[in-house]
């Protein structure tokens, strides 16, 4: 998208500059060619391709039913902190402002809110979904490698919005449950 944009930008400014620098050459351009070709045909082709590509990319982020249902965790937002629950792992207490997920596999995050609209966003994992009171939103994310990823609230939610951060810790899948339980005891 970036290089495509650069090319289109160069095209438009190029024609604009030509009109002033070399009016003789510019006047030989057919205006029908410019208006229909540049205004109608070119964007139609580019946009169709782009929209179809984006739809396929988007599929991967949407929690569509799969043969093997991914792990589910819950993210509950309130002014101004995040509570993460792990209903799939028995007997683990909720964690505050720190989400533990396994790496290398998709995880469904069920996002809810206690008061106002917040938004769950971990920039390096991509995808962003609002936490809306009274609604349940699900985003499907995948951390390719174990590690620490930082997350923020991305929808203005009052005075504490700036400091409403959290971290995501991705564990190797085979150690996930044991490390989660261990964490639970040390907390």
């Amino acid at each position: 998208m970036f290089w495509g944009s650069v090319a289109l930008f160069a095209l438009v400014t190029g024609i604009l500059a030509l009109c002033f620098i070399a009016p003789g050459f510019a006047s030989r351009l057919s205006s029908r060619w410019l208006v229909f070709g540049g205004g109608l045909v070119m964007p139609s082709v580019i946009l169709t391709a782009l929209v179809i590509f984006a739809l396929f990319m988007g599929e991967r982020l949407i929690a569509s039913p799969q043969r093997e249902a991914p792990l589910r965790v819950e993210a509950h937002a309130a002014q101004w902190n995040w509570t993460f629950r792990y209903p799939a792992v028995d007997g683990v207490a909720p964690t505050m402002d720190r989400l533990h997920i396994p790496s290398g596999e998709p995880v469904d995050i069920v996002i809810t809110s206690a008061d106002v609209i917040h938004s769950f966003w971990v920039p390096r994992l991509g995808g962003k979904l609002d936490a809306i009171p009274g609604h349940e939103n699900i985003v499907r994310l995948q951390a390719d490698r174990p590690g620490i990823y930082r997350g923020v609230c991305a929808e203005f939610c009052g005075e504490g919005h700036t400091i409403m951060e959290f971290t995501v810790e991705a564990h190797a899948p085979q150690d996930y449950e044991s490390e989660l339980r261990q964490m639970d005891r040390t907390q």
């Binding site: 998208m1 920039p123 995808g127």
Partner: protein, 693 residues
């Protein structure tokens, strides 16, 4: 700010009420401007100017005014509902009582996206007018541009959801709105390439307005390209609510509005002042603005992609945002210096600019045919237009019009007159007799402001005083318009004649009523759909209590409202046949009173407490809307009787009754739809009760 953060629980105090009521007040005035613009463009063009001869700028403003008429009502409704929630605890957006914050987002963006194009299109109109002057070539692709502007108008109503990609909405809706968002780039591209083609075919010369227009091209095209990126849902999920969006929207708005408007200011200021620009400052101001703007906002693309969210008061150091933000801040100062230089330039221009005779840019549009600066009457006589109105020669036309060689180059009865024309062909069909200069409009506006202020300070009973004052002032205002005797056709010059507007089939005020009702209807339809939206989507349904009423009272309310509409039509017919309209109007008055009583009974006794659940709250507002219109109907019916009594009405002069009749028709339909919906709601609730999880 979204609900529920902006509801009284999370934002107590008067501050939020100030902007809510302020926005409602301003938008209602914008609606009036939209009606005024639509009617002026459609009915008050120069004679002979058929639609296809309109200057391109008029086409753009026609589309913009129509968009305002349909785009602002959802926002007005949204702010009224939120204010009702804040002031009276009606839970439209409170999820614990069956409301939904998403309703606010839908209403807001249903306004908010067309609004972006409402900002851009007038600027595009200015570009289409100014650019050909400096290209020294007529605008290429006039028809294509008209079609594009209309297409943008239509499409802009189909993409509000692209501001809400991250709220969790159905899959197919995402695909639809993503495609629609990409689609709107096409008519915009057509306009840009038509402008480029005009420049390519002409012999362009660089002057101050053209310099600012090239700034528009540079900035706006970049904003458009990032816009296409954001229309792609997966990209948007990442960039939404980051500084990337901040950069995008500034590129679109500053590129698409500020730079064209600066060009327009340099182009039309001489028209207003009669002086030429002082050149020394305009060029450095341009470069400061261009460099400062790009330095501030182009870097924000990067800050955003590096994950910096919007609306934060501070950020942690060491994540790669520091130097980008520092440079953006420096750019901000450069930009400010550019604007300061521009303001200084305008002041110097007004003080020291060199006076000129006529048409300094060698333009070919009508406005340069007036004297400059223009006198209060603009044209001494009206031209006859036989070719496209932006391809005329002001040098020869101006002196002819000033000498009175056109329509209405005469004075009679001390009237202020203008011509009304057929909407499509532009043939003159009436003489519009304008009201004399008066302070009444100002006083009415002040009284309206007083009403809003009373609401702001929660003086609800006191607010009835300014409200009554508004009504009284409107009534006094009507004394200055209308004729008490039938008139023969009035000569208008060029051997033609036309009836006064009160005797014409389609007076501007009649058309204004029709447009006002279209805007009003949009608000009402948004309200009805909002009611159904909450029923289908909001959490915590069904409500515990439903309305308890038989069929009798609702049927009475609806029948009486429809009867009033029928009687009002009968009054018009009676008047046309030279009979007295009094019996029919009296009947309509009684019918409205009956409907008003029945509706108020429904609200006060049959409906559960409106603060208990969003169901009761929406039903309450729907019924209150119907009652308000019955009250308006009552006023219009009595007004009709008054006008008859004072001799303003005759078989030829039916205008006042015809205007009223449209309102009565509307009230009948509104009552049918509103009371009907309130009756059906309990059945709908019962239907989904079984499905509720």
């Amino acid at each position: 700010m979204y609900t529920p953060l902006s509801s009284s629980a999370h934002t107590p105090g008067i501050n939020a009420d100030v902007w809510l009521l302020g926005i409602t007040f301003v938008e209602i005035s914008a609606m009036s401007a939209a009606v005024e613009t639509l009617v002026s463009i459609l009915k008050m063009r120069a004679p002979g100017m058929s639609l296809d001869k309109m200057p391109i700028f008029a086409w753009y403003l026609l589309v913009v005014a129509a968009m305002m008429l349909l785009g602002f009502p959802p926002m007005i409704l949204g702010s009224i509902l939120l204010e009702l929630e804040r002031a009276f605890d009606l839970p439209f957006f409170d999820p614990t009582r069956g409301g939904d914050s998403l309703l606010w987002q839908h209403l807001f963006w249903l306004f908010g996206h067309p609004e972006v194009y409402i900002i851009f299109l007038p600027a595009a109109g200015a570009i289409s007018t100014v650019l050909p002057v400096f290209a020294r070539h007529r605008l290429i692709g006039y028809r294509g541009i008209v079609v594009s502007a209309i297409a943008v108008g239509f499409l802009s109503f189909g993409l509000w959801v692209h501001h809400m990609f991250a709220v969790g909405i159905p899959h197919l809706a995402l695909a639809f709105f993503s495609a629609a968002s990409a689609l709107v780039a096409i008519p915009t591209a057509v306009q840009i390439f038509a402008w480029l083609a005009t420049l390519a075919k002409g012999r362009p010369r660089m002057d101050i307005p053209m310099l600012y227009l090239s700034g528009f091209f540079l900035i706006f095209v970049m904003g458009g390209l990032t816009g296409v990126m954001l229309a792609m849902v997966p990209f948007d999920w990442q960039a939404h609510d980051t500084h990337f969006v901040v950069a995008h929207l500034h590129y679109v708005l500053v590129g698409g509005f500020v730079f064209p408007m600066l060009a327009a200011a340099y182009y039309w200021l001489p028209h207003m002042t009669g002086r030429l620009s002082v050149r020394g400052l305009s060029v450095p101001a341009f470069w400061l603005l261009l460099i400062g703007f790009n330095m501030t906002f182009s870097l924000m693309h990067l800050t955003g992609l590096k994950g910096m969210p919007r609306r934060v008061s501070t950020y942690p150091g060491g994540v790669g945002w520091d130097w980008l933000n520092l440079l953006s801040s420096v750019g901000g100062f450069v930009l400010t210096m550019g604007f300061a230089l521009f303001v200084l330039d305008v002041v110097l221009h007004i003080k020291f600019g060199k006076p000129f005779r006529r048409n300094p840019w060698k333009a070919a549009s009508l406005e340069w045919a007036t004297p400059t600066p223009p006198p209060s009457y603009a044209f001494a006589s009206l031209p006859h237009i036989s070719e496209r109105a932006d391809l005329v020669d002001p040098e020869t036309l101006g002196p002819r019009l000033a000498a009175g060689d056109g329509y209405l180059g005469l004075a009679r009865n001390n009237w202020m007159e203008s011509l009304g024309v057929d909407m499509t062909t532009g043939k003159p069909d009436q003489v519009i007799i304008l009201p004399q200069p008066s302070y009444l409009p100002l006083l009415t506006a002040l009284a309206t402001g007083g009403f809003v202020l009373c609401l702001l300070f929660k003086l609800y009973w006191v607010s009835l005083v300014p409200l009554a004052l508004v009504l009284a002032l409107f009534m006094v205002w009507t004394r200055t318009s209308g004729l008490k005797h039938d008139t023969d056709l009035l000569p208008i010059g060029r051997n033609q004649s036309a009836p006064p507007h009160v005797q014409a089939a389609q007076a501007p005020s009649y058309l204004a009523m029709v447009f006002a009702l279209v805007g009003n209807g949009t608000l009402y339809v948004s309200l009805l759909f909002g009611t159904l939206f909450l029923w289908l989507v909001a959490p915590n349904w069904p409500p515990r209590e439903l309305i308890e009423t038989g069929l009798a009272v609702p049927a009475l309310a609806v029948t009486a409202s429809l009867l009033a509409a029928g009687l009002a039509r009968r009054a018009v017919r009676a008047l046309r046949d030279s009979r007295s309209p009094v019996p029919a109007l009296l009947g309509a008055t009684i019918a409205h009173l009956t409907a008003l009583g029945a509706t108020i009974w429904l609200v006060s006794t049959a409906l559960p407490d409106p603060t208990s659940h969003a169901y009761a709250a929406t039903s309450f507002v729907v019924l209150a809307y119907c009652a308000l219109h019955n009250a308006l109907g009552l006023i219009f019916a009595v007004f009709g009787l008054w006008r008859w009594h004072d001799g303003f009405l005759s078989a030829k002069r039916t205008l006042d009754l015809r205007i009223g009749s449209r309102l009565h028709d509307y009230t009948g339909l509104a009552s049918l739809a509103g009371v009907g919906l309130v009756l059906i709601m309990p059945k709908l609730v019962a239907m989904t009760e079984g499905l509720a999880p």
